[in-house]
Symmetry: C2
Subunit: 305 residues, 2 copies
């Protein structure tokens, strides 16, 4: 039944660009609970980043602690976090994170703006962190950000992406996410890159993470599905966008993606109405329309009835 | 160069659900001129429908007359119209329409709500009209509306769609549009239906027309492109939606689709900045955000510089 694995990143990638209103801890926990009730496979609760740099993520420790302490909350959902450095990793382990995500950007400019380090410098640190997490027994996913193009540099040579993947594989990392941070990917490119990766790394588990900057997120998901990709990162309401890239729009919308999978008879164990509930709550909280399509359509259907 | 043909339907399908504010004739002409400057292949100027039923379309005769009278306006763009009945067809011929579009719905419920006739009743009249237009030497495109599902009836048996196509072909019609009026199509369905149609009608020219009700418009376009479809109907700004269906969201956005084609090195003869100009004008006119992605991203890029 779980032929496709969904990693919900709305609580992290979806919320981190929201700088004006900080979502209170209780509200975040409520949204997380809804997503857990929906039977989402992996829920990225937040990132461990300096609270001054991204105030929206300051509550991440407390959300993990809540779920660590409340063991009676039934869930099939693994709780993941994003970490940017060793300090964050230590916080994550202490708070009760169950899966660690981290990454480097294929774009030197994006890498420097995001981390203050070149891709090469960041790579060494991230690999060491990933190995430390694996040694401690945690599931680990390492990403290549700006894998399909960069808001600052434009085209990124495919070989830069392939070389990063090879370095990860040499370091013993099995799960690698390709993040279209700036939303530059298009379906033909997705097909070509995934085919090349498959040729030199047939066993690697690739996760795809697309943004809708140019409206191609869902088409890219379809191309990735056709290429046999099983892991996707999406955000409820289609929220999100990296605060450290030049132009980025929301993630592929989780409930739209689930709707599509269910139209194909896939992942019918996911309760999409619970994801929609989260989106309705977020729309109300932020008091503005979110990018997702399904929740607007459902609203109209209700009005028409 | 013109491996893909774009039929811009924003002036008709895009504007017809706008009931509150009627776009004045001069504004419509200005938008049409921009789309012509963009080098769009076919521009659907409007529909010939009773002005009381769809007041937004009342100016259609005058737009055609403007371009008929102003022969000095350079254009590579064919000006098409949608007609619903014989009266509309006569108005179109008199006003100077250069291509006639008409259709029936594969859904009986949608057909009755839209035309007051069953699919079968509507079919006879539409075929007679199409043949009359062809006899007069006009290019004709006939559509199957609700071809991928219906807001009222839900699933539409594929055979209903195939049988309509067969009837059209028997009547000598060469160009057939499959319209996803309610936005129910998903990529796997598009692939399957187009493959079946190809098997019984290898020579037919199919046009695809998708709506974003569930966010799958662009993914469906990609599936159609993969199936070898060359004709697409899209609307600037992603505007639109049929006023006679239960729930419908905007069309696939023309400038987003052109951006994607140009990322693949296709249709570089289209000046996408002129389509964007039209969208910016429409956004300003209606004083609200439109669904398209590219124009919002371009706006942000300008702000960041």
């Amino acid at each position: 039944m779980k032929d496709i694995i969904i990693h919900e990143v709305g609580m992290r990638d979806g919320l981190q660009p929201e700088k004006e209103i900080i979502v209170p801890l209780e509200t975040k926990i409520e949204w997380c609970k809804k997503l857990i009730e929906a039977n989402i496979d992996i829920l990225q609760v937040g990132s461990f980043v300096h609270p001054v740099k991204v105030p929206q993520m300051a509550a991440t420790d407390d959300i993990f602690k809540y779920f660590t302490e409340n063991k009676d909350i039934k869930r099939n959902t693994l709780l993941s976090c994003l970490v940017l450095n060793e300090k964050g990793m230590e916080r994550g382990m202490k708070a009760g994170a169950e899966m660690f995500c981290m990454g480097v950007s294929a774009s030197d400019t994006h890498s420097r703006k995001n981390t203050g380090m070149s891709t090469e410098e960041a790579l060494g640190r991230i690999i060491a962190m990933a190995q430390e997490c694996m040694k401690c027994g945690y599931p680990v996913q390492v990403s290549v950000q700006s894998a399909f193009g960069c808001g600052f540099e434009g085209k990124i040579p495919y070989d830069r992406v392939y070389n990063l993947i090879k370095k990860y594989l040499e370091a013993g990392i099995k799960q690698i996410s390709l993040a279209d941070t700036a939303g530059h990917a298009y379906p033909e490119q997705v097909t070509e890159m995934l085919s090349t990766i498959r040729s030199f790394a047939p066993e690697v588990a690739i996760t795809c993470h697309f943004h809708n900057t140019y409206g191609l997120g869902m088409a890219n998901c379809y191309a990735a599905l056709q290429a046999g990709i099983k892991n996707f990162e999406t955000a409820f309401g289609g929220m999100g966008g990296c605060p450290f890239t030049k132009v980025a729009a929301g993630n592929v919308c989780t409930e739209d993606f689930v709707y599509y999978l269910q139209r194909c008879g896939r992942r019918e164990d996911i309760d999409n109405s619970k994801i929609l509930d989260t989106t309705f709550m977020a729309e109300k909280f932020f008091n503005r329309k979110l990018p997702g399509y399904l929740y607007k359509t459902i609203n109209k259907e209700t009005c028409c009835n």
